[in-house]
Amino acid sequence: MTVPVAAETGIEARRRLREVVLEAGGVVGDGRPAAMAGAPLQTPFGTAEPVEGDEVSTVPVGEPAADSRDAAFADGTQRYIVEGRIGLTPVLRAHVGAAVLTRRDRDLLPVVYEAEEFVVAPLDRLADTTVTKLHETGLQVRDCGVPDRAHPILDVQLAVQQVERRRRCAEIRAVTEFRRREPDMWLVVDGSLRGYADAIRESRVLGAIKSHETQFLAGMDLETALTLPEAHRTTVFRRVGAREDTIHSWYLRLWDWAEQDILFGLLRIERERGPDVLDEIDEVCRWLLAERSPVSTPDARWDRLLYPIHEVENFLKAKAGSWW
């Protein structure tokens, strides 16, 4: 049976519900409609073990750093379009780019830019003459390796994964080139440090992860991490995996999340393992806390998007221009 709900009833119901949440020791949200869950997460869970202490706990980091730190910021971008299909086989044209901006005396300046435009298609499904003609376009032609059985959506998704890999390659090339020129300058890359390998070894490189798709903590450790107060961090933990066990990580809450989503203002920071990680962690956190300003509005991710990273994105968008 459907019961019509008056506006007053809805507001009252909301009030009662929020009271229940609060009485149960919970925290109410911002009252906005939940975001679309979207596609299933590819890697929702990982594993980790504490490095700083025996369990994940909360540490206040203090006041934001007062001075601007000379540093660099890196990010990448990708665009693609299905130009057509040969039979059922999709042919995509893609553009990927990556850049590093340095900040000196509070001014950002682009110093490294990498870009690539290419064709992606499951080449095994195409005739040799067609592949030859694709090469004759002058663009790089890359295979996305699909299974024999065609699928109109999956084939495109696999091609897009190839685009993402190429973007990652561009990011790594940009970071590597920057480290070659500036081996000592702090560098913040957007996202995980996974895959950077030599480019970040024994260097001052931070990964700023704002998507939180993969959760390495569980139980109370996870709750401690995701309910951090403003200007607090978790203790450091180490990701456990085949290749990533050299990466140390911790959470940092940039903004008070009261009446907001639980992930509001929450960053997970990564840094290559080293003796300085624990020594410098609070200083690094205070620095990142200072990066709350300027805010990256009107970007919807402004609570987690550091302004210099936002500017790298804008630079890459401007460079790509009206690419289609």
């Binding site: 300003s293 300027p294 805010v295």
Partner: protein, 648 residues
């Protein structure tokens, strides 16, 4: 890899940007520059397209960052701006709006190309302002008006003499707030420039300047103290930084009829000031100036016309056997007295030659009152001293100091002098082919509203037809919006000094951008904005201090002399003509003489400027006549019966 760098000179300083909402058009475009840039409002830039070069002047500017909402800044600063210095400076833009001055090629007219923007070079300035057509080639008619100065470049800017002094168009109008001396300084400098650069092949040129207030124009023949930057500009504009060597001064007497009514009365300078004295004829021709609409009804006008046509300077016989030859106000008074007496004696009623006695009385009172209100300028006795119409000097400047005069007298001087200039120019016998008339306070002489006056009608006439005669008006005022639109509208060249914001808010300035208005409202002394027929947009310029002593400095250097007693004033004026004359000799000549006789003789001597001044003066005064004392009126004499005078 992209690295933004500051390029050396000659490299682009900006790039044209265009969006659907901010497009580039054939007349306007937008470009961005680095935050630190040498350009500003008024800068001239060049856009180099593939097949098109565009010259433009910057008229507006914006700066903004990517901040979505000011409240966001407040939030991250926790409401305390002083303690908030973000680690990263927001990306910001300097977005400039430029108005197109010229496109090459000019046809087909197209939108400005989205290309690189350069600072204009000296050659670019010349092309942008279309000056190459008159500062190069065989017939050069360029008159320097100042220096364009932006981004380290200084380039001379020229007006076209054909559009400043005619015949293509003419007249200049200058506006600006009072007290900064920009208007007067600019005109003094421009006159010097005109006298230096006006092509000799286009005829002779002179200027008549009305000094309407203070000592502004009283020292045009005295050198000023100039600074190195002034001398540099004079050198760049190819003008000698020297005062006017052919300056002539005219001023009326004060009410005492002997001391000249001018602030240029220092003993070292008073000798070069000529008295300006007019008699009945000079005044009667311009009675419309002196009599307002209430005075000058149809009946009064008819009677004045009768006097002008039939009486003045003619032998006129009245009905009672008297013969009149009216040359002076005194003669005129005698005529009126004869009419009234005659009518009374004969009892012929209240009409004389169809004119009612009330009208006659009214005209008498108004006309005779003129010699009172304009005392010092108008004499009762018929003598006159005037400007040298017919023998005007080439490159001469004639200053008429009316600053100490009654407004009515100022109007009379202005109207009569300009009318005389016009008449002589029409007859081609002024002595020069072009005459520049400089008049300040145009909002007083040619107001946009208020009753129609003779002065305004005359200014309108000059504005609309003067260029054909070579009669050019350089007018100045504080508020352009208050001047008659046909007067300012006919000025082909318009100059603006620092302006009042209220004035800039009037409709006449709608064509200017807000940034241009702000610049005008804060313009420093020595800078001005110029519009000229060859310039499609206003241009900001600098001009040097004029090479003449400014009024206040002149008064300090040459303090005005105090009024002196009659005898001493006569002595000083004669000594100024001939330094060998001894005061005792003068005292002996004028002792016991009527002041009127002495004044007349002094005027005649000044006019003649004889070799032997004292002898001439003595002869002009005439032999002494010993009068027998007049017998007292007899007890039985019957006084004249007076007719009631409603206008007395």
């Amino acid at each position: 890899m992209v690295v933004t760098t500051e390029g050396p000179n000659g490299e682009p300083i900006g790039r044209v940007v265009a969006t659907e909402h901010l497009p580039a058009s054939p007349h306007q475009f937008h470009f961005w520059t680095e935050v630190e840039t040498p350009i500003g409002i008024g800068a001239i830039v060049r856009v180099e397209g593939a097949a098109r070069t565009v010259y433009a002047v910057v008229v507006d500017a914006k700066a903004y960052s990517d901040l979505a909402d000011p409240l966001h800044e407040v939030r991250v600063a926790a409401g305390v701006p002083a303690e908030h210095v973000p680690p990263t400076r927001r990306t910001e833009i300097r977005l400039w709006t430029a108005a197109v001055l010229r496109q090459v090629p000019e046809e087909p007219l197209q939108p400005v190309p989205l290309a690189e923007v350069f600072l204009a070079s000296e050659e670019d300035v010349q092309v942008a302002l279309r000056m190459e057509s008159y500062v190069q080639g065989e017939e050069q008619t360029g008159i320097p008006i100042g220096m364009y100065a932006t981004g380290g470049l200084t380039a001379p800017v020229y007006l076209d003499a054909n559009f400043l002094l005619g015949p293509e168009s003419a007249h200049l109008n200058i506006s600006g707030v009072s007290g900064l001396a920009t208007k007067t300084s600019a005109v003094e400098f421009l006159l010097k420039s005109v006298f230096t650069h006006f092509p000799s092949g286009k005829g002779r040129v002179a200027a008549v300047c009305f000094n309407v207030k203070g000592p502004d124009l009283c020292f045009l023949d005295q050198p000023a103290e100039l600074f190195p930057e002034d001398l540099e500009m004079y050198a760049g504009l190819e003008i000698e930084p020297t005062p006017f060597d052919r300056a002539h001064y005219f001023a009326p007497f004060k009410a005492d009829g002997i001391n000249i009514n001018t602030l240029r009365s220092h003993p070292d300078l008073i000798g070069s000031v000529h008295p300006l004295v007019w008699g009945l004829r000079e005044v009667l021709d311009y009675h419309e100036v002196l009599l307002n609409r209430d005075d000058l009804d149809a009946k009064a006008a008819a009677f004045i016309d009768f006097l002008t046509d039939r009486v003045v300077e003619k032998e006129f016989r009245d009905e009672w056997g008297n013969t009149h030859r009216v040359r002076t106000f005194s003669d005129l008074e005698q005529l009126f007295r004869a009419i009234f007496d005659g009518l009374e004696a004969t009892g012929r009623g209240d009409t004389w030659r169809t004119h009612h006695i009330a009208t006659i009385r009214k005209v008498r009172n108004r006309l005779l009152n003129i010699s009172t209100r304009c005392k010092g300028l108008v004499t009762d006795d018929g003598t006159s001293e005037d400007l040298p119409f017919g023998t005007f000097e080439d490159r001469g400047v004639y200053v008429i100091d009316v600053s100490g005069m009654d407004q009515l007298a100022q109007d009379l001087v202005f109207t009569r002098v300009v009318s005389q200039l016009r008449e002589h120019l029409e007859r081609r016998d002024l002595g020069v082919d072009h005459i520049v008339v400089f008049a300040d306070e145009l909002n007083k002489y040619a107001p946009g509203d208020g009753p129609e006056t003779y002065v305004r009608k005359m200014l309108l006439d000059i504005s609309e037809r003067g260029r054909y005669l070579g009669l050019v008006l350089f007018g100045a005022q504080q508020f352009r919006s208050q001047v008659h639109r046909r007067v300012v509208g006919n000025a082909s060249t318009t100059v603006y000094g620092r302006m009042d914001m209220d004035e800039l808010a009037t409709p006449g300035y709608q064509v200017l951008s807000q940034a241009t208005k702000i610049k005008l409202a804060t313009l420093p002394k020595g800078e001005l904005m110029v519009r000229h027929p060859h310039f499609t947009q206003p241009v900001f310029l600098r001009f040097p201090r004029p090479p003449v002593l400014p009024g206040p400095a002149g008064v300090a250097a040459y303090p005005p002399a105090m009024d002196v007693p009659f005898e001493e004033a006569v002595m000083r004026q004669l000594v100024a003509l001939d330094r060998r004359i001894s005061p005792n000799a003068v005292a002996e000549v004028i002792g016991g003489r009527q002041e009127e006789d002495v004044r007349r003789a002094l005027l005649a001597t000044r006019r003649a400027r004889p070799d032997d001044v004292l002898a001439y003066f003595q002869a002009a005064v005439g032999p002494r006549v010993h009068h027998a004392p007049a017998a007292p009126a007899g007890a039985g004499t019957t006084p004249l019966q007076s007719v009631e005078d409603p206008y007395a």
